[in-house]
């Protein structure tokens, strides 16, 4: 007498919908890539070749630059550790010195704030216009310098 197979150990019944989907999708040929793809990749590679080393990935930097970067980062870490090694007292003293240094600026600010309500409205409008113009000029200057120093390839 042939033993009956254990139903729990039988392979699962194949799903007809899954089998149909698999066969239908696998019968599709791969869509052709655009003809310009290889040209695009080569053009991008050529563009990247013209970039200065410091605008490329760190892995592409010259060995001396990578070494300098690691040394600078290490020095920064050591400096930070040394600064905070003395504990909170040294940090508090540093903050106190900073506060003392900024005290004249705070006084000046308070004086200006007290004087502003006394100024005529026309003066305030003129000052606001001058401030906005200066800000725009500064922004334009920064952008121009950035473009001059780091031209896009």
């Amino acid at each position: 007498m042939t033993p009956r197979p254990d139903p729990d150990r039988l392979p699962p019944e194949p799903d007809p919908l899954a089998a149909w989907t698999h066969a239908t999708l696998r019968s599709l040929p791969p869509p052709a890539a655009p003809a310009a793809l290889a040209g695009r990749v080569l053009a991008e590679l050529a563009r990247r070749e013209t970039l200065p080393w410091w605008r490329r990935e760190v892995a592409c930097w010259p060995r001396s630059a990578r070494l300098g970067f690691v040394l600078a980062a290490g020095a920064g870490g050591v400096l930070s550790a040394a600064t905070f090694h003395g504990g909170t007292e040294r940090l508090a003293a540093a903050l106190a010195r900073l506060t003392d240094a900024l005290a004249p600026l705070a006084t000046l600010g308070q004086t200006v704030l007290r004087a502003v309500p006394e100024l005529p409205a026309a003066w305030l409008q003129g000052l606001g216009f001058a401030f906005c113009t200066s800000l725009a000029a500064l922004l334009a200057l920064v952008l121009t310098l950035a473009r001059l120093l780091a031209p896009r390839a």
Binding site: W20, S27, P30, A33, P34, L37, R40, V41
Partner: protein
């Protein structure tokens, strides 16, 4: 791993650029197909394929003679496409929880389909392939992506769940709904003929 794993570049190279160009020509359809099936967007797929080959160029010294270069390229293309989808389409998980009237829970729809290897005239076969491609691309991301990963990339359920950051049950549900939606769309397009009840 995949049925359309391409062979190594057949053209002997002359210089480095020509060698890399030949490498790209050999694999570009595979890489592009992976990306376009996952994203359902040709422009995004082209960007992804470009990024894949830029990364391949950075390690071309290892890839140029590697028999697994095709698999590496497909893996990178899959990862980039999934990253792209998760970055720009985070909402798809939310929308996937919404119950669609045409793909809701319960017994699957009455589906009729034809055997895929049924002999057909070339024009009819090309038209049918186009209908399947369009129906696949029209599926929502949460159904199309598991379908592509399972049926084209041969990933098991568990890996699909891990890659997509969803539960195994959700992967199985989305796969079932995606297959049913695909069959329904093709039945609507007249591509499915034979009676079938899942």
């Amino acid at each position: 791993m995949n049925h359309n794993e391409p062979a190594a570049p057949p053209v002997p190279p002359v210089n480095a650029e020509e060698e890399f160009t030949a490498f790209m020509r050999a694999y570009q359809d595979t890489v592009f197909a992976t990306a376009v099936r996952l994203t359902a967007n040709r422009a995004q797929a082209e960007d992804i394929a470009q990024e894949v080959f830029l990364r391949a160029h950075a390690r071309f010294a290892q890839l140029r003679a590697s028999p697994t270069a095709g698999g590496w390229l497909k893996t990178v293309a899959t990862n980039l496409a999934l990253n792209h989808l998760s970055r720009y389409r985070r909402r798809w998980r939310f929308f996937s929880e919404l119950r669609r009237a045409d793909t809701g829970e319960g017994p699957g729809p009455e589906v009729e389909f034809a055997a895929p290897d049924e002999p057909r005239a070339p024009v009819e076969a090309a038209e049918r392939r186009g209908q399947v491609e369009r129906a696949l691309a029209a599926l929502p991301d949460h159904q199309r992506v598991p379908l592509v990963l399972f049926h084209f990339e041969d990933l098991p359920y568990e890996e699909i769940a891990t890659r997509l950051g969803v539960s195994l049950a959700k992967v199985k549900t989305d796969l079932f709904r995606g297959r049913a939606a695909l069959a329904t769309a093709l039945r609507g397009a007249g591509t499915v003929h034979d009676s079938f009840s899942p």
